[in-house]
Amino acid sequence: MSEATALDELPGELLMWVLIVSELLVFGMGLAAFLGVRLTDPAGFAEAQDHLHRTGAALNTIVLVTSGFLAALALRWREGGARRKARLALVGAAALGVVFLVIKGAEYAGKAAQGIAWDTHPFFTFYYLLTGFHAAHVVAGVVILMLVAWKDAAKNIEVAGAFWHMVDLVWVLLFPVIYLLA
């Protein structure tokens, strides 16, 4: 009766994939709504976008992609039996997640200093919703990475890594659309 299905071939954990697909749907819909509302006021959106700190965001992209790389290495090392190295890589990945949050926090503080809030312009409503929701996932990701650095079964690292790469992927989608799209 329990014949093998495509689902059984998924690496890691089925529920994590349900979560990942759900998250991608949410961020995808958020970006689609952002682009839709942007059509109604291209000049206002361009003006608002100029207030963003593009260099900081570009730096954050490098930070997060590097962190994702470390998480991927951790799994490879764990599977190769290098437990200590894998743990260090996971802690390093989590630390880079914290660096991302610090840079992000500085960015938010800069906005607040300019008197910019979520209701200043529709652009900023989406900016805060999307990057804020993403940052919340970074916080969750840091916690998860630390958890699997502690309980370091290869399966755990794989599942945590899947989540962390999703957070990475979402940022790589948010960054060009929100910060760069002219």
Binding site: M1, S2, L25, Y128
Partner: protein, 456 residues
């Protein structure tokens, strides 16, 4: 019946069905007031009739859930319920509270009294003593079933059911907070109603449906459990922040419009998954269970929930649409089909499955029961269509053209007449169902193949 204490479910189901009858009769009266607005306007005002209609719905559905838990947990946990006495005390408290509410609402007794009077809110306005009683009953219930599960076998079905029932009870605690600010009042009571029907009740629904599929189709438990977890994950992911779709126009900040629109759009996914689950299980299943009526109600539940909660919900959940349709008959259309499909059909499915077992007899009157399904469903679906048309016309006249509310109501009177007719059909279906369940006759589908023991 494998376990003696499953018998507790019998009285819960009986009280639930009695309240069900009261609830639909209240609905019929409310439907009549729509076409003849002065009916009983002094004795029993419309707002009270409406409150009785919705509150008795919620109460009988919850009684059905309690009964379902007492019925299926012994089988799943493979042991008797911890304390049958407590279970009966719990029911007695709930019945007393329900009677107290009905009498207090109808005669407006103890007006303004902190403990005994109704609270003057739109929905969660039970007198404080009733709310306290509900909490005591809920604590007794949670203690009773949790002890049973802890001492017995733990399955995915009981885990999810317990999670849903704990959530149901804990979220009700918000009803004790009654802020003076109307916007806050609404914000908090959605924590109860929304997080119930679009959150924890979905867990209860998925687990009861999973139990029924297990029994009726004979599919492997492992497959059922995988579906169950995916459905529950999708329901909680979309439903919790989906609460935002109630915060568009009540005075909460504007970012809720996007949070609510995006997350509540995804609420259709768990309902679609439940429908797919039910049908896939039946296709894969190799058991030819004699209780066809229970199977029909289970499939009907999953299908109508998808349309009523999923499709009709999505219809007006985007804030750009809801800006126009908010509080029109569109909402009433969605509310009727969603509650009927998701939770009424679910309860009737478990009643249809469990009652013959509880009374230790073959599933009699299957044809009548199935006829009642088609009567109730066609009545309810017709009502949904009629109210959707009424809501569309109302939205255009009132919200687009700006006509006055009562002028618009006069213009859509024809729809209210048709809704009343649809209501009569639903009532006939309900009466037929109660007859089929309670009045024994000798008719069984495929006599001989009928096997009253629903072995797994």
């Amino acid at each position: 019946m494998k376990y003696e204490t499953q018998k507790i479910a019998f009285v819960y189901f009986a009280v639930a069905m009695a309240l069900f009858a009261v609830q639909v009769l209240g609905g019929l009266l409310a439907g009549w007031i729509y076409v003849s607005p002065n009916t009983l306007s002094e004795v029993l005002p419309f707002n009270i009739v409406r409150m009785l209609h919705t509150n008795s719905l919620v109460v009988w559905l919850i009684l059905g859930f309690f009964g379902a838990a007492y019925f299926l947990i012994p089988e799943e946990a493979e042991r008797e319920i911890h304390s049958p006495t407590l279970a009966y005390i719990q029911l007695a408290i709930l019945v007393l509270g329900t009677l107290g509410v009905v009498v207090t609402y109808t005669f407006d007794l103890f007006q303004g009294n902190w403990l005994l009077g109704k609270e003057g809110r739109e929905f969660i306005e039970q007198p404080k003593w009733v709310k306290a009683g509900i909490v005591v009953a809920a604590l007794i219930f949670l203690y009773n079933i949790t002890m049973t599960v802890l001492k017995g076998k733990k399955t995915a079905i009981t885990n999810i059911l317990l999670l849903g029932l704990w959530g149901l009870a804990l979220l009700f605690l918000f009803s004790f907070y009654n802020p003076g600010n109307l916007a806050l009042d609404k914000q908090y009571w959605w924590y109860i109603v929304h997080l119930w029907v679009e959150g924890v009740w979905e867990l209860i629904m998925a687990s009861i449906l999973a139990y029924l599929m297990l029994k009726l189709t004979g599919v492997d438990r492992e497959i059922v459990e995988k579906w169950l977890y995916v459905i529950v994950a999708a329901a909680l992911f979309s439903g919790i922040l989906g609460t935002g779709h109630h915060y568009y126009w009540i005075g909460t900040p504007g970012y809720w419009q996007w949070i609510g629109s995006i997350f509540s759009s995804l609420e259709v996914i768990p309902f679609f998954a439940m429908m797919a689950f039910a049908f896939v299980m039946v296709w894969k299943g190799r058991r030819d269970h004699p209780n066809k009526a229970a199977l029909l109600w289970s499939l009907g539940c999953a299908t109508l929930a998808f349309f009523g909660a999923g499709v009709w919900g999505f219809l007006h959940t985007l804030h750009g649409v809801n800006y126009y349709t908010h509080g029109t008959q569109i909402t009433a259309a969605h509310g009727h089909l969603a509650f009927f499909g998701a939770y009424v059909c679910l309860n009737i499915a478990i009643f249809s499955y469990a009652m013959p077992i509880l009374r230790n007899r073959d599933p009699y009157n299957q044809v009548l029961n199935m006829a009642s399904f088609w009567l109730m469903t066609s009545g309810m679906v017709f009502m949904t269509f009629v109210l959707t048309f009424a809501g569309t016309v109302q939205t255009h006249l009132q919200r687009v053209l700006g006509d006055y509310f009562m002028d618009v109501q006069d213009q859509i009177a024809i729809f209210y007449w048709m809704r009343f007719g649809a209501g009569v059909v639903v009532i006939l279906g309900v009466l037929l169902f109660l007859y089929a369940i309670w009045v024994p006759r000798k008719e069984v589908i495929e006599p001989g193949a009928a096997d009253k023991v629903a072995a797994e």
